[in-house]
Symmetry: C2
Subunit: 413 residues, 2 copies
C-alpha cells in the first residue's frame, strides 16, 4: 500500500464527512458499551494512581452526580476498590473537553455523519467558572449539572427533533468567517447555535421561566457549541480511521498526565508521552506553578483541521491565549507544513479563503520537527479548583516518533 495514496483516501474521508447534530440523550441510552459503573474520561487510558488532580476531581464529581458515592472519600474508595471502571471517551465513540468525565445518566449530544450514519457523542458544556470539566465538584457545580440534565438537555433534544437536526459542518464553516477557530473561541458559533435552536425551543412546551433559563444558557455561554463541534470532529476523524498504510493522525487527546495520539493505519494503539504544561495567560492570582499539564479531548478540533490550525480566522483570540494577530496567521501557515491537504469547506478569510490545513501526517511532523499546535484552557493541578487560564501547547514529539517507528514495522521496513 502506497502511503500517499492511503493518506489521500483518509483525507477524502475527512473532507467527505457530513456531521450533523441529531439529538441529545442520556449516555446510557446511546453511547456504545456505556454502563452505570463506567466513567468515561478524556485522553488515552490512565490508572487512578497516575490520574491528575483535575481528572480526579471530575471523576469524584461524576460519582457524586450519579449518586454512586455520597462523599469525596466514598468516591475515591469506589475507584480504588475497582467498583467503578475508568475508560477513555475515545474508546466509546465519545469526546469531552478537559477532564471529559461522562457518566451513564449524563445527557450527551448525538452527532451523525449524514453520509455513513456513523455517530459520535459529547457531553453538554457547562460554561465558564467552577465546572466539573476543570475538576470542580462543589454543590453548585453538581446542581448546575442536574439542571442541564433535567431541563436543558431534554429541551434541546426536543428542539432538534423539531428541526430535523442541525448541520454542524455548515456551522463550523460560518464560525470560521466570524472570528472563531472552533476550539478556544466559539463565541460566534455558540451565538449561531443558540439562534438556530431558539425558535424551536419556544415550541417544546417549557414554562416561561424554564425557557428563559435555557435561552439564557445560550446567551451567556460562548462555549455552548464547543462540545457538538468536538463530536463533529470526532465523527469526521473516525471516518478516516483504519485506512491501511495511512499515516494521518485521527486522534490527539490528553488526560492531564499523558498526551496520546492514534493513527489511521495503526489500529487502536495509542502512542503516548507525558503531557506538557501550556504556555498562556493566567487569571488573576494564578501562575504556571498552579497549572496542570495539558488535558482534554478538545484536541480533536486540531486533529480535524480547526482550533489552532484555524488560528488565522481568529485574530482576536490572542487577547485570551496570548500572542499577536500576526502570530495567529503564522500559526496556521505553519500547520500546512505537517498536513496532507486543505479543507475547502473551511475557508479562512484572512488567507483569501484558503482551506484549513487538514490531516496531520506523522511523517511530516517528524521530518519537519514541527509538532501540531493546540489551543487550550488551563486547569489547576489540584482537584476541585477549576480553570485558571488559557494558552497554547504542543504535543510531545515522542508520540509521533513512536508512531513513525510503528508504521515502519507494520510496513516491514
Amino acid at each position: 500500500m502506497d502511503i500517499n495514496a492511503a493518506n489521500q483516501i483518509a483525507l477524502d474521508r475527512i473532507l467527505g464527512a457530513q456531521p450533523a447534530l441529531v439529538g441529545v440523550a442520556p449516555a446510557r441510552d446511546v453511547i456504545p458499551g456505556m454502563r452505570p459503573d463506567l466513567i468515561l474520561h478524556a485522553g488515552p487510558p490512565v490508572t487512578w494512581d497516575r490520574a491528575s488532580g483535575p481528572l480526579r476531581g471530575a471523576v469524584i464529581g461524576g460519582l457524586l452526580f450519579e449518586g454512586l458515592a455520597a462523599t469525596e472519600a466514598e468516591a475515591v474508595a469506589l475507584v480504588e476498590r475497582g467498583d467503578v471502571r475508568l475508560a477513555p471517551c475515545h474508546h466509546h465513540a465519545a469526546v469531552g473537553p478537559m477532564a471529559g468525565v461522562t457518566t451513564a445518566s449524563m445527557q450527551v449530544y448525538v452527532v451523525e455523519d449524514r453520509g455513513s450514519g456513523a455517530r459520535a457523542y459529547s457531553n453538554l458544556n457547562e460554561g465558564y467558572g467552577k465546572v466539573l470539566r476543570y475538576g470542580a465538584y462543589a454543590g453548585d457545580v453538581l446542581a448546575r449539572l442536574r439542571w442541564m440534565n433535567d431541563v436543558l438537555g431534554p429541551a434541546v433534544a426536543d428542539a432538534l427533533a423539531r428541526m430535523g437536526g442541525l448541520d454542524l459542518k455548515s456551522l463550523i464553516a460560518q464560525q470560521l468567517t466570524m472570528g472563531d477557530e472552533g476550539h478556544n473561541r466559539n463565541r460566534a458559533g455558540s451565538a449561531l447555535f443558540g439562534r438556530l435552536l431558539a425558535p424551536h425551543l419556544a415550541r417544546v412546551g417549557l414554562p416561561a421561566e424554564a425557557l428563559e433559563a435555557v435561552l439564557r444558557y445560550f446567551a451567556d455561554n460562548d462555549l455552548a457549541v464547543l462540545n457538538p463541534v468536538m463530536a463533529a470532529c470526532k465523527v469526521t476523524m473516525d471516518a478516516a480511521h483504519g485506512v491501511a498504510g495511512s499515516t494521518v493522525v485521527t486522534c490527539m487527546a490528553r488526560n492531564g498526565t499523558d498526551f496520546g495520539i492514534r493513527v489511521s493505519g495503526l489500529g487502536d494503539r495509542w502512542f503516548v508521552a507525558p503531557a506538557e504544561v501550556p504556555v498562556g495567560l493566567y487569571f488573576p492570582g494564578f501562575s504556571a506553578a498552579d497549572a496542570n499539564p495539558d488535558i482534554g479531548d478538545s484536541t480533536i478540533t486540531e486533529t480535524a483541521g480547526i482550533g489552532a490550525f484555524a488560528m488565522a480566522a481568529a485574530p482576536a483570540i490572542v487577547k485570551f491565549v496570548g500572542g499577536t494577530p500576526a502570530e495567529a496567521v503564522a500559526a496556521t501557515l505553519e500547520m500546512y507544513e505537517i498536513t496532507v491537504g486543505e479543507n475547502p469547506t473551511f475557508g479562512l478569510p484572512p488567507l483569501d479563503f484558503r482551506g484549513t490545513p487538514t490531516g496531520i501526517d506523522i511523517r511530516k511532523v517528524v521530518r519537519t520537527g514541527l509538532t501540531p499546535r493546540v489551543n487550550t484552557g488551563i486547569a489547576h493541578h489540584r482537584p476541585g479548583v477549576g480553570q485558571i487560564g488559557a494558552g497554547l501547547v504542543r504535543p510531545p514529539m515522542a508520540c509521533f516518533e513512536q508512531a513513525v517507528e510503528a508504521m515502519a514495522e507494520a510496513l516491514g521496513r
Copy 2:
C-alpha cells in the same frame, strides 16, 4: 477658533458617546415633530418629481401601510397634491437604511446616549428579499411590516424594558472582532443581539407560536441589528455636531438621487451632489443597467468610523460586495488618511487592534483626493422591485469641495 482644536472636541464627543438601545415605540410617540401626514425618508431633502424609483416605491408603500391611500395611484396623488409631506429622517433625529421610509405608526428603535440623554431613532429591519426599504410594496411586504409592528416591535420593547436597555457600543466592539463591519455585514452583531434579547423575550407573555416567530426573525435576519447600530451611530455623530470651526463630517446620506453631507461646524446645511451607482456584485438576472444610484442613511456607519471604514475586520464581506481580503485591509488603511483620529473602543483584530479610522475631515478629503469609502446594498431603479445586489461606492467629491468653500467663507478666509 482653531480648526484642529475644534476637530479634537468633535472627536472627543464621538469617542465619548455611550449609545444604548433603550426601547421600541411608535414613531408618532417618540420622534420629534412626527405627524400622521409626514413621511420620513433617507438622505438629504428631495422633491417628489426628482425622487428615485425605490424611494417612490417605499413612499407609496408607507402610505398604503398607514391606510392613507388604498392604491398606488391614490398614494401618488396624495404626494403630488401636497397632502402628505416628505422630510429627511435626519431632520427628525432618525435614520433609515435604503429608502428609509418611516411613517407615524411604524415602530422604531429608541437609542439613547447614556451620557447626555440625547436620542436617535431607526425603523425595524425587514430582512432580505422584497422589502419596503428597497422600494417594494406588494401585499406580502406590507403584511410583514404589520406583523413587525404588531408583534415584533412590542415584544422587543417589553424585552428591552426587562433588560434595562442594551449597550450598543459594546455590541459594535464585539461584532468588529467577529467578522462584521457593521454596515453590510451584521451577521455576528445580529446573532449577539438576538441571543441577548431571547431570554427576556421568553418572559414577555407571548403565546408560543408568536414567540417562535419573533425568535425566528432573529434567527433568520443577519441585518436585524443594522438599524439599532445606525441609530447608535446617529446619536454618536449628533453629539459631535455643532462644534464651531470643526471640519468633521457628522452626516453622510443619500436619497437615491443626491448624496448629501453635513459638517459639524457648518450648521444644518446640506452639501449635495448627484449620487453615484455602486460598483458591486449583482444577484442573478440583474446588472448595473438595473441599478439605482446610491441610496440610504446607512452611511451614518461610515460617518461614525465603522462600515467600509472597518472593512479590515470583515474579510469575508468580499464574497458579498466584491474584492479581496487584502483590499478590505487596504480600504481601512486608506481611511486613516482622511480622518481626525481613531476609536480605541473599536479595535480591529487584523490591524493588531488599532482603533477604527474616525471623524472624516472635509479638508483631508479634498487635500488627498480620497473620498470616504461606503459599503452598500444596490436597489433596482424601478419602484416595487427591491434589492438586486451589493457593492462599494464613494460620495461625490463635490460635496466635500462645497463644504470646504463654505467653511472658508464662515471663517472669513
